[in-house]
């Protein structure tokens, strides 16, 4: 049974069909990339999976349970964490606090523990801190040490993206949805992040679904590539299969210039 199975998912905003019946299955331990032109419904798909919008129709079966229409916090608790296309951190909380907040759904102590400083509360706070530091150390030296107590808004763009991934990791997910993780990064940074995405699976055991525009990143880490266009899936398969698929080339990848001239010449002829 696949970890995540989406059946005939539909979502429209007014007259705009953002997702028009998508089927998708993700096996545990896979890295799946979703590509497609702007407006293809990639982020909408993420938003529906993570519960930000309820779907109009269709099922989202995660770990054998239909989570369609559940609230985002319930879905996060069930084991799906995500990042956002336009990085959305808690800018005035510190780096460490951002990651601590991520652990909210895995921890339990409430008001009484905090007021009476019970042993269980203190122990949990210690664990939260320890785990937060541990997660941040996953990104090397970038987010540790003096960074712990800096507010998130001072971070560089690449570091914000890393922190957002760290926050998602803190929710202890099974499935990680990354929305354009390398957007806005320079080639070296994105190469580094590509490696990191591989490590998210090999070291941490996450299943990853990501939206990505950088075909180099897609080619390097994906087991499978899904192509969306106008809210429907137009192709699916290995990077090689997809990148040579005529429909995909037409809709998204485009042709090299000389090919295009030959086509037009052929048409003329």
């Amino acid at each position: 049974m696949p970890l995540l199975e989406i059946k005939n998912l539909k979502k429209a905003f007014g007259g705009v069909k953002a997702i028009g019946g998508v089927d998708l299955a993700v096996e545990k331990g896979e890295i799946v990339s979703i590509i497609g032109p702007n407006g293809a419904g990639k982020t909408s798909l993420f938003n529906v999976i993570s519960g930000i919008f309820p779907p109009d129709e269709g099922e989202i079966i995660f770990n054998g349970v239909n989570i369609a229409g559940h609230s985002p916090s319930e879905i996060t608790k069930a084991g799906i964490a995500r990042t956002f296309q336009n990085v959305r951190l808690f800018p005035n909380l510190t780096v460490l606090e951002n990651v601590k907040v991520g652990q909210h759904c895995r921890t339990h102590r409430g008001i009484w523990g905090a007021i009476f400083q019970t042993r269980a509360f203190k122990e949990e706070e210690r664990l939260i801190e320890e785990r937060a530091k541990d997660i941040l150390s996953f990104f090397g030296t970038r987010l540790v040490g003096y960074r712990f107590d800096q507010p998130a808004f001072v971070l560089s763009y690449a570091n914000r993206r890393r922190l957002e991934i760290a926050r998602a990791m803190a929710t202890e997910p099974v499935l990680l949805l990354l929305d354009e993780p390398t957007a806005g990064m320079n080639p070296r940074e994105s190469a580094e992040l590509t490696e990191l995405i591989g490590k998210l699976r090999s070291d941490k055991g996450f299943t990853v679904v990501m939206i990505e525009h950088d075909m180099r990143v897609v080619g390097e880490v994906s087991d499978r590539v899904v192509v969306l266009d106008h809210g429907v899936k137009i192709a699916e398969g290995s990077y090689h299969e997809v990148s040579t698929n005529e429909d995909v080339i037409e809709a998204y990848l485009g042709r090299p210039a000389e090919d295009r001239t030959t086509t037009t010449e052929e048409q003329k002829a």
Binding site: S73, F90, A114, I128, F153, Y157
Partner: protein
């Protein structure tokens, strides 16, 4: 620093900037006229600060041209580069602007004098006001005197910039000490009852500082400030530059100090001031509760007084022999029930508004606050709540064999402070807990908080309930203190004042809320309670409004802000500081190597 402010303080070389002169002089004149026209000058003139030469009215009146002069002479350092040097042109400008301002005020006096009919519409436009405005010399002489005085005071304001930094600070401190000693005469007298020689030396029997003692005080304070400047006060200096452990130690010292003060101070004060302190304590309690809702969780609740009302009414109904409740409990027995009722009220109001945000939430809570008050007031429910009569004969808090109520205020104040301490402790502990972080995240970005796994519905309700319970502390105490609980005490202005206490004090910060309550309710007075400056009575709301506007423009994070909120409102400066700390290497885009 915006371009406009830099522009405003940058004179065009040494040439006189006529437009700026007219603007400054005109505004000053209008402000002086306003103070006179709304009756503040006349009313406050009855309160002598230094007998017989300076009244509070004139202090306020003359402060306006002084501030004008000070602003004219001010130089702002922008990025380490000082703007044009001070010149004699500033003095000329201040004097001319002062003349202009005085002329406007004198003109106003003449108009009021010439048209006695105006008095029908503006009852404040009385001959007495004209007399005070013209220093008692009549309109004719006033035309000479007012511009002259305003010009001189304006020149003094400019002159402050000619003093060395150290001297200027000393003079300011000395002046402040004299003003504070004069304004807070009643506190000083009360406080030094055991050492009556000091107040007898300082104050005239009829009220106000003696001229001699004012001069002595000025010199002593000035000299002390001059020589003590620059020395570090242990525990307070550079609080922001300390690291976490040091800061924890200093705040521990501060907490112990505050605790000691709260125990000692009420013993030294008399009944009136303890009454005042109790009121301040009640507003601190409510401020701390609202701080959890607004400051921590970011839910703008404008009907917060509802929870205060529920606490007070529940306590009154359960303890009063005249209430509709068939049994009668004492205060301590009823207290847990009050908390439960307040928590239920929190849930009751919280649940329907939980999906609303920002402005909508504010409006709906405003409505709920009023609904609750009208329910208590209504004839329909008057068999239970007593309608407009309210619930009478609420007994005090049993302590040993006595009942401590509003008449034993010197004991009652300790109950209040005890609960304030509890509320402060709870706020402090919650701030750095799992729940506190969830609230902070929710305040930053509600959608994202939900997306990272925080059940925002639950977190919001928890904030509402916690806030409601803290407000019910205040309600329960209030009922025992006043003995009669009726709906008039829970008008919307109470909600607003609590919110202003939190905003002016410093949202999200416990000490900030305490300072806010001390300054606003203690000095200016609460919605129905007089403060130290009883003269402010009818002008209280005007002053509240002016203060709020000033704070929003100059220090939106409040008097004592929380670190987080200060960062939020000054991100640019924070980034710049971080940049300077790293020796000019931009931390935002550190070398990725």
């Amino acid at each position: 620093m915006t371009a406009a402010t830099i522009d405003a303080v940058t004179p065009k070389a040494s040439r006189l900037d006529v437009r700026r002169l007219l603007r400054m002089g005109g505004l000053t004149g209008l402000a002086m006229t306003f103070i006179a026209a709304n009756g503040m000058l006349e009313t406050f003139n009855n309160r002598l600060l230094i007998r017989p030469i300076l009244s509070m009215g004139y202090l306020l009146f003359l402060a306006i041209p002084f501030v004008m002069g000070f602003l004219i002479g001010r130089r702002v350092e922008v990025e380490g580069v000082e703007t044009a040097p001070r010149t004699a042109a500033d003095v000329v400008m201040a004097v001319v602007a002062g003349l202009l301002a005085g002329l406007i005020a004198a003109l106003f006096a003449a108009i009021v004098n010439a048209f006695p009919g105006l008095r029908g519409t503006f009852p404040r436009f009385s001959p007495a006001m004209v007399s005070v405005l013209t220093f008692g010399f009549g309109v004719g002489t006033g035309f000479l005197l007012l511009p002259g005085v305003a010009a001189v005071v304006g020149a003094v304001g400019v002159g402050m910039h000619w003093l060395s930094d150290r001297l200027r600070k000393a003079v300011s401190v000395a002046a402040l000490v004299v003003v504070v000693a004069a304004v807070f005469e009643s506190v000083v007298k009360d406080f030094f009852e055991w050492f009556a020689t000091l107040p007898r030396f300082l104050y005239h029997p009829g009220g106000g500082l003696k001229v001699v003692s004012a001069i002595v005080l000025f010199i002593v304070a000035g000299v002390a400030s001059f020589f003590l400047q620059g020395r570090k006060m242990p525990g307070f200096a550079g609080l922001t530059s300390q690291d976490a452990t040091e800061r924890r130690r200093s705040s521990l010292i501060a907490a112990v100090l505050v605790l000691a003060l709260t125990i000692v101070v009420p013993m030294l004060l008399g009944g009136v001031l303890n009454e005042l302190l109790t009121n301040v304590g009640l507003f601190m309690l409510m401020g701390l509760g609202l701080n959890i809702v607004v400051g921590y969780a970011g839910l703008l609740d404008l009907g917060y007084v509802a929870f205060f009302a529920v606490g007070a009414y529940t306590m009154a109904l359960l303890t009063s022999p005249l209430s509709s409740v068939p049994f009668q409990l004492n205060w301590w027995q009823a207290f847990p029930i009050v908390l439960v009722m307040a928590a239920l009220a929190g849930l009751f109001i919280g649940t329907p508004v939980i999906r609303m945000r920002g402005d909508y939430l504010a409006i709906v809570t405003l409505g709920f606050g009023e609904i609750i008050r009208y329910l208590f007031l209504s004839d329909w429910l008057s068999p239970y709540f007593g309608g407009a009569q309210g619930v009478r004969r609420v007994p005090g808090i049993p302590l040993g064999s006595n009942l401590v109520g509003g008449s034993d205020i010197t004991v009652f104040v300790y109950f209040t402070l005890f609960f304030v301490a509890i509320a402060a402790y709870v706020s402090w502990r919650l701030q750095d807990s799992r729940i506190g972080r969830a609230w902070a995240a929710m305040r930053e970005d509600e959608d994202i908080a939900e997306a990272v796994g925080i059940d925002t519905v639950k977190a919001k309700l928890l904030a509402f309930v916690t806030g409601a319970v803290l407000a019910s502390f205040a309600g329960a105490l209030f009922a025992a203190k006043v003995g009669t609980v009726f709906a008039h005490s829970f008008e919307i202005i109470v909600s607003i004042i609590i919110l202003v206490v939190v905003i002016v004090g410093g949202m999200g910060n416990i000490a900030g809320v305490a300072v806010g309550a001390l300054v606003l309710v203690g000095v200016l007075g609460g919605p129905n309670q007089p403060g130290l400056l009883q003269e402010f009575g009818e002008y209280k709301l005007l002053v509240y409004g002016a203060l709020l506007v000033f704070m929003m423009l100059q220090k939106p994070e409040g008097l004592l802000p929380s670190a987080r909120r200060a960062r939020e409102l000054h991100q640019e400066e924070y980034l710049q500081d971080a940049w300077l700390d790293k020796g000019g290497q931009f931390v935002g885009s550190e070398q990725e190597a």
